[in-house]
Amino acid sequence: MEMLSGGEMIARALEDEGVEYIFGYPGGAVLHIYDALFKTSKIPHVLVRHEQAATHAADGYARATGKPGVVLVTSGPGATNAVTGIATAYMDSIPMVVLSGQVASHLIGEDAFQETDMVGISRPIVKHSFMVREPEEIPATIKKAFHIAASGRPGPVVIDIPKDATRPDAKFEYHYPDAVKIRSYAPAQRGHTGQIKKAARLLLSAKRPVIYAGGGVVQGEASGLLTELARELNYPVTNTLMGLGAYPGTDRQFLGMLGMHGLYEANMAMHHSDVILAVGARFDDRVTNTVSKFCPGAKIIHIDIDPTSISKTVNADIPIVGPVQSVLADLTEQVRQLRKKDTELPDPGALARWWQQIDEWRGDHGLWTGRRYGESDRIMPQQVIESLYRVTGGDAYITSDVGQHQMFAAQYYRFDQPRRWINSGGLGTMGFGLPAAMGAKLAFPDKEVACVTGEGSIQMNIQELSTCTQYKLPVKIINLRNNYLGMVKQWQDMQYEGRYAMSTYEDSLPDFTRLMEAYGHVGMQVTDLADLDTKMEEAFAMKDKLVFLDVFIDPMEHVYPMHVAPNGAMKDMWLSKNERT
């Protein structure tokens, strides 16, 4: 058997795990590992400019591919800098393995240089964590970490590794386990058959059904099955912010995103429904509005891999714990069997009336048919996303930061496929977009990757422009520039009588065009609507260049619809600055 040091075992185990990229930043506690990687590893390492970006890049890679992202950081500040990215991945259930260096065992607890209790700090934001105590444990620990990160409800796993466990002079027998068994960890493999039968009956008895699908469908690779079931039944589908792409965005049965900035027809359909099939969604507060007023007439079927998501905020009438893939397959089968016996299920008249109602809602206030914006002669942010959609043929990987631009992208870019929409939905992490785009571009170098951002968000991880230079990552950055922290400003307009407390940076923004040039990229400004499409095309025509498109938009525009809060129901929305439902 081969004898390897701790550091070499880490390098080898990552190869044996099939890791494609390591996103990281070296430092004292991980130098043995870096030396082993340098000497032996075939896995490319991406040197970021800040550890937060390493986690977001690994996260973007994971969201685009479905495979765990891998991060390597040093102890102390390296580890704490990674925390925001770990929390981001945790909130959105993204598989990730974070290897953090730790001071040598004999120094732990002595407030040594660059010592921090990473296992403690990360505890509430990881699916699980390990502290390596003996070098012999390294291969099995890495195997377990990948297994936990990627199975069940995915999430980040931290492995904290004291420096002495990676010493080059201490060699151990290396064996990478083929499989792993953890007696205290067994995610559900199938849904309960009885519950699925009950769900099929309820689903077919619906007169005003809605399928409400979330990020779990994307993570659980169940988009195809969801689409099949929805088409079999001709039921309307709405996706959460995390679920966009789980159902084809251009399909007639798609109502758009639901929730705080959800589409009128999606929120109205939810509120007036009698049966909701919730799949891989978690009734988040940004979806439900006031929980006690949530969809008063609806019976709820809730499919989720994580039992804690079920009946946490909204009570499920038929809970089904299991992987969405197998549950949806079983449910579709049950539905088909019942429909063979009774072809009048679901009630065709009721469903036709329901669709008629939905089409009326669409016609009244839908984004695509009746909604108007552009009351000023400036470029409206929605138009920028529509232009992006046209120029990329709806086929790009779109990452976003957090704020108004994120909501405009979610509303106006129609995602027909899962994993194309990459954003920080749960934690709402500004600074996520650019490093996430790097991860997606590395995963799919031949695909277009665009980061929709704002001047606030982009500056939170702008140092990654240098990483893009180093690794030649020609992502496109679409900056919806309004010179404000737009979503903060919107709330200040709506709730604080327009007092823009610290939400503007006036004339202190850099000249982004020159900044891009300084990094070796291309910067372009768009100030006139007539140039928007041309400049957008020009940007995407530069295949091997990172292009930053600085689009000056109407700074007064708000994101609508917006739920009326507090005390509003799903149906209570602002539709513009002066109309509400």
Binding site: R123, K127, H128, M131, S184, D306, K312
Partner: protein, 164 residues
Amino acid sequence: MRRIISILMENEPGALSRVVGLFSQRGYNIETLNVAPTDDATLSRLTLTTVGDDRIIEQITKQLNKLVDVVKVVDLTEGAHIERDMMLIKVRANGGAQRDEVKRTTDIFRGQIVDVGPNVYTIQLTGTGEKLDSFVAAMAEAEILEVVRSGIAGISRGEKVLRL
């Protein structure tokens, strides 16, 4: 309503902090906590008492089950069970009358005086939480110097067992 939740978990460093952390992180309340290894040295048994309505208790048990270190969780209050809390209480015992009174009350509660000093008694008492509370109340006349309680430990009645 008060619940007694018993957990079988890996006897690993960090496991306890994950359980305790879960409670503070999600705003649940721990009233008592008791933890020790079991006959199987790889497993620890943790028993805690908490308060909450059915919905909260359901979330607590589900969240606990989700922790990777947790092997099994049971809400003992769902069925017939035995619960015991152990208390050591040190009281001032000066002069014959006072010493007799403390001794008498201890006997009534079936406690034991486990340490005797010229001016103090240390009493050991085992029972339900309520019984220990009553004893403390009964000692109100005496001067209580120190109280230490183990926290509730519990086990189901009959055949029902919590093990691997």
